[in-house]
Amino acid sequence: MDLNYLISFIYAVIVAGTPLLLATLGEIITQKAGNLNLGVEGMMYIGVASGFAVAYYTKNPIFFILAAILSGALAAFLYALLTVTLKANQTVTGLALSIFGTGFANFVGETITNTSPTRTAVLDGKLMSYFKPINIPLLSDLPILGRLLFQYNIFVYLAVLIALVTGYFLFNDIRGLNLRAVGENAAAADASGIDVFKYKYLAICFGGALSGLAGAYISVITAGGTWTANSVSGLGWISVALVIFAGWNPYKAIFGSAIFGALRVLRFYLPRQSFNLPNSLYGALPFLVTALVIIFTSIFNSKEIQQPAGCGVNYDREER
């Protein structure tokens, strides 16, 4: 295997792992607030569809990103309203969001493609050009390093930046500490004067915004700007599992999503002659590994790395 081959593999891994990273970071913050939102898949679909629709009709890259982020946040707000204020079951509400989001995306996609004379929908070329790999003079042209570090699309850098910022926020900022207190023991946090409801709402909406952004990524990068049915296809669920894999740590999420990115692109990079495996096996691989990860992390349950204690349980002030 020569060096160029390895470099393009790493490049593909990062590109495939980025939407996972974004969604995982959002879910980490959500779970740190004590809410297990299983609606990631749905929020990503909502981001995909809203982003695509707005980009398709306005051809404006800013509106595109905003639509994806805001629609994800809005969906998460609905989840927060149901679980935090109305104290609905978190598992079922999250599932409802995933089911709804999938239907919503199909609906939007089919409506757009049905009105198009070619029965397909492709985004404006100028808009797409904003999301091409960046080109920094000198840096991008460096041998090896240029391709490895300075030739990604803009989302990749944004995702890593968000990972670093959320990591810093969680572990080094007083508000991050407060957020963790809310997730561990909402009653104690409330008693110490932390606005539990505000923290929960903000964290959940932030999670939705990042899922929406991951949806935007899928629209223009993964699906290449062409409307594709079922484009999320389980990435949201893998992200929820990645939260466990990363041990609720945004820094580790960077490596976790790279590993799962690798599983997704492996089939294109393993030499056919020596690894002649059926396509279906490669397709199943990320899900198989995720299942194994969930099982093994629960078997080797460590004391230090734990789900926030209050996760999944709604906080009821009257039950203090």
Binding site: L82, G103, F104, W237, T290, I295, S298, D316
Partner: protein
């Protein structure tokens, strides 16, 4: 005269938990939730420039307007009812089995093996074997997450979900590899079942409808009147109480999940042999997820599951009809189902809490 004021920071109202459950209230809340969702959906339809009443009427006509459309609707009801019953069994225990989709697929795979390779067996023996192996396969597939949940408290939601995708890729493997139909001119698909391996069609719908009708009272009696059903309820209420009462919680979890997966597996066999007459990767086609909404809307009550399944089959079948009539995407039905579930979840708040306005001067 002194006017007493609310103390600063005291909320305007407070909420209080209601301990007792009222079936009547629960029913009313659910009916209201469906009506609210239909209203919201109607509002959305009028935004798209349609008359919602015309659309809803067309949906009804498309699903129950003729003998043939009714038969089509019943065909949708069958896997939905059985899967929703499977979901109810697990959810009653607070085991979030999101994997009936995968368990259904695995059941269909097991049954298809006999349909494809033992097709010359006597019809009755063949069909009974197919049903039996589908139950066992689906049950075992449900048993895996149950074992890990019982033994290591592994997150069953994610595990059953991953199992869905793995089952789906297994079908893809079979249709592209060992079970590929050589007569399909290179197209990756599995051969159609021989007549002998297909279910009979009493009253124009495959035999599955009779199974579904039988399953409803059986699951009802099992949950309501059997010792095992009682154990499910206790484990769902509190695992601690169950242990304290001398029940083996792992045993209850695994037994129930075998039943839940087994039911879903049977639904897979009925779908493959009765409706599709072959094995495709859309054998489940999202039924496992719709079943979750159905089960929750039915408050995990088997009798209500039947009723709600009809409502949802109406939406599904009617959705296809309005697609051809009014060019409204058939996914509108899925969106509407999602909205119904949101409303149920929101309205359930009023079953569990009462709101007390803080009066001035208190």
């Amino acid at each position: 005269m002194l006017k007493s004021r609310r103390i600063k920071g005291e909320p305007l109202f407070k909420i209080q938990r209601i301990e007792e459950e009222s079936p009547t209230k629960s029913f009313i809340v659910r009916v209201l939730a469906v009506l609210a969702a239909l209203t919201a959906g109607g509002f959305f339809l009028s935004l798209l420039g349609h008359n919602p009443l015309v659309i809803y009427q067309a949906m009804f006509k498309g699903s129950f307007g003729s003998v043939m459309s009714t038969q089509g609707t019943v065909k949708i009801v069958v896997p939905l009812v059985i899967n929703a019953l499977a979901v109810s069994l697990a959810f009653k225990m607070r085991f979030w089995n999101i994997g009936t989709e995968g368990q259904m697929i695995v059941g269909a795979i097991a049954a298809s093996y006999f349909a494809l390779f033992k097709g010359n067996w006597p019809h009755f023996l063949l069909i009974s074997t197919m049903a039996l192996v589908s139950i066992i396969a689906g049950g075992l597939y449900g048993l895996i997450p149950a074992y890990f949940k019982a033994r290591f408290s592994t997150n069953e939601t994610l595990l059953t979900l991953m199992a869905n995708y793995i089952a789906l890729y297994a079908v893809q493997y079979l249709k592209e590899g060992p079970w590929k139909d050589p007569g399909a001119k290179g197209f990756p698909q599995i051969a159609r079942f021989a007549q002998n391996a297909r279910l009979s069609m009493p009253l124009g719908v495959h035999f599955g409808w009779i199974i579904a009708l039988l399953a409803v009272p059986l699951v009802y009696i099992y949950l309501r009147y059997s010792k095992q059903g009682y154990e499910i309820a206790v484990v769902g209420e509190s695992e601690k109480t169950a242990t304290y009462a001398g029940m083996s919680v792992p045993k209850v979890i695994m037994r129930t999940m075998f039943l839940s997966g087994g039911l879903a597996g049977l639904a897979g066999m009925l779908q493959a042999s009765g409706a599709d007459r072959t094995l495709t990767d859309t054998v489940a086609g999202g039924v496992g997820f719709t079943a979750i909404i159905v089960a929750w809307l039915a408050n995990l009550n088997p009798a209500a599951v039947l009723l709600v399944s009809f409502l949802f089959a109406l939406l599904e079948k009617g959705g296809g009809y309005i697609q051809s009539m009014f060019k409204i995407s058939a996914s509108a039905a899925d969106v509407l189902q999602g909205i119904i579930l949101f409303f149920v979840l929101a309205f359930e708040f009023f079953l569990r809490y009462r709101i007390i306005i803080n009066k001035k001067g208190d």
